[in-house]
């Protein structure tokens, strides 16, 4: 008697050629980062959870770094590449000091990062990178990069797993997109202004607690690094751990 094999939608698959397994050098370690520039400060924040798939690797693995020279750097995506990028940057910065005996400007750091990323154009660092610092006039500035080095200076930028959740909120609350001047009867857009540090911190905390609710790879803790002319300060706030 012939055995009856139950046919499922999977059992119908017939493969004649052998399956080729290839080593995948990338993984996604979740997490989200967010940078906002103010008049005389810039903040760069990131959650402290690190994941692979559905597993939480760690509840506290910081990914925003104070790399010196009043620069904050964070790369979000594949953690192996992210740490490598930050390490290589720190090393290049050290050699810049040896060679030139002066601090690296934020704009120069941004250009350096572009070259580091584009240098690996055909085997990219799988990361969304954000650099925060102060510009020549002492105003806060944020530079954001795509994985292969395309970059621009912005007022604010979210990166990583929940970037698509946070970015529209930032557009509305930092750049006042879709907001009208209350006295203009909906005729004039609300005029943009610099936010105060307290407002920015509150925005960042709201953005992250909301992202934690909606994204499984975001949570556990929020670390905010604040850069001013007086140096870098770190604040930590717990997030939901579920």
């Amino acid at each position: 008697m012939q055995k009856v094999i139950p046919t499922t939608e999977y059992a119908n698959e017939v493969r004649n050629e052998p399956i080729e397994h290839r080593f995948n050098p990338y993984s996604d370690n979740g997490g989200t980062i967010l940078g906002i520039a103010g008049e005389d400060f810039a903040v760069l924040a990131g959650d402290t959870r690190q994941t692979t798939g559905y597993s939480i690797n760690s509840r506290y693995e910081p990914k925003v770094f104070n790399v010196g020279d009043n620069l904050l750097l964070s790369a979000n995506g594949f953690a192996g590449d992210a740490n490598q990028l930050v390490k290589v940057f720190e090393n290049k910065l050290k050699w810049y000091h040896f060679n030139h005996n002066k601090n690296l400007k934020t704009s120069s750091a941004a250009r350096l990062i572009q070259h580091m990323l584009y240098g690996k154009r055909f085997f990219p660092y799988y990361v969304h990178t954000i650099l925060a610092g102060l510009d020549d006039e002492g105003k806060g500035c944020i530079y954001s990069f795509d994985p292969v080095g395309s970059y621009e200076r912005e007022q604010c930028r979210a990166g990583g797993a929940a970037a698509s959740l946070i970015m529209p909120f930032l557009d509305n609350q930092v750049n006042f997109k879709n907001q009208m001047d209350p006295n203009s009867n909906g005729k004039k857009p609300k005029e943009i202004r610099y936010l105060k540090l307290e407002e920015v911190i509150q925005l960042v905390r709201d953005a992250f607690s909301s992202a934690t609710e909606r994204h499984i790879e975001v949570g556990d803790g929020l670390e905010i690094l604040i850069v001013t002319k007086d140096g870098v300060r770190t604040e930590y706030y717990p997030l939901k751990r579920d």
Binding site: F23, S27, E61, F78, A79, G80, N83, Q84
Partner: protein, 273 residues
């Protein structure tokens, strides 16, 4: 056409002249180096003999770590006396799961590192944080060459400030730390049990050594029950800050197992009652 097994399908040299291997990078073997083998260079694409989980937990005075003694070849129990936790220097131990040949290669790297460190020095300098940084770089470099060392590693010991230090490194060069760490199957089975004991860094300060050892022993039992590629003999490592000691005990047996339910199991090839 050339019918030599190593050149099969290539245009024959007699008719078309010497084949140019530089065209489209046709071979990944560097032709400028005269190698003995004409066979393409091969990389580890899957692990062969493997070791299963390594688990570790922090407690108020240090770290407990464990890994069993088995090396499996698929479902075959190939090795039953394989010690996968090794001491490196005076201040660190390394527990390695995954491919055993790669483990032995790492063992040699770490040996070389120790010789280098001890040479011309009056004392050891190799601390756990240096070791984990080194291993992370080795793993990341190999993954970048698309030739990974197929392992997951847990480094435990004392850092350069003599504080307990714990780190997990995988084959992609991703590293992280946490009060509880596990590799492989332990990530699914042991981590929830370990995190029940230490949810936060504050819980670490409340966990006693005895309690931590018992938790690790329980986890090794659960892993032996449920991980088909695990064994009931394991290495147990106790790292203690107050005495600044690292003790590594082998041949520890899984204790207090309950198998009386087994007599009620039918099917699975056992004759039906």
């Amino acid at each position: 056409m050339n019918h030599d097994p190593f050149h099969w399908g290539r245009p024959s040299t007699k008719t078309y002249g010497e084949y140019n291997y530089l065209i489209s990078n046709a071979s990944n073997v560097d032709r400028s180096v005269k190698s003995n083998s004409e066979f393409p260079k091969m990389h580890t694409q899957q692990p062969m003999i493997t070791g299963t989980s390594v688990i570790a937990i922090k407690y108020k005075d240090g770290i407990i770590m464990a890994a069993d003694h088995m090396g499996s070849y698929g479902s075959l129990m190939k090795l039953e006396d394989l010690k996968r936790i090794i001491q490196v220097g005076d201040d660190a131990v390394v527990g390695i799961s995954g491919d055993i040949s790669d483990f032995q290669y790492l063992e040699r790297l770490l040996d070389d590192l120790q010789i280098e460190d001890a040479y011309d020095m009056d004392q050891e300098h190799l601390k756990a944080n240096h070791l984990s940084e080194y291993l992370t770089r080795v793993m990341y470099n190999r993954r970048t060459k698309m030739n990974p060392l197929w392992n997951a590693i847990i480094v435990a010991g004392f850092d350069d400030k003599d504080e307990p230090y714990l780190k997990h490194i995988d084959l992609l060069g991703v590293s992280y730390t946490s009060p509880t760490l596990a590799t492989g199957f332990g990530n699914h089975l042991a981590i929830p049990l370990l995190r029940k004991k230490v949810e936060t860094e504050d819980d670490v300060k409340k966990l006693s050594k005895e309690d931590a050892i018992q938790t690790i022993k329980d986890c090794m039992k659960v892993l032996f029950y449920r991980d088909a590629r695990s064994w009931n003999k394991y290495s147990l490592c106790v790292i203690e800050k107050s005495t600044k000691s690292i003790s590594l005990e082998h041949e520890v047996q899984v204790e207090n197992m309950k198998w009386d339910f087994a007599q009620h199991i039918t099917g699975y090839g056992v004759p039906q009652l």
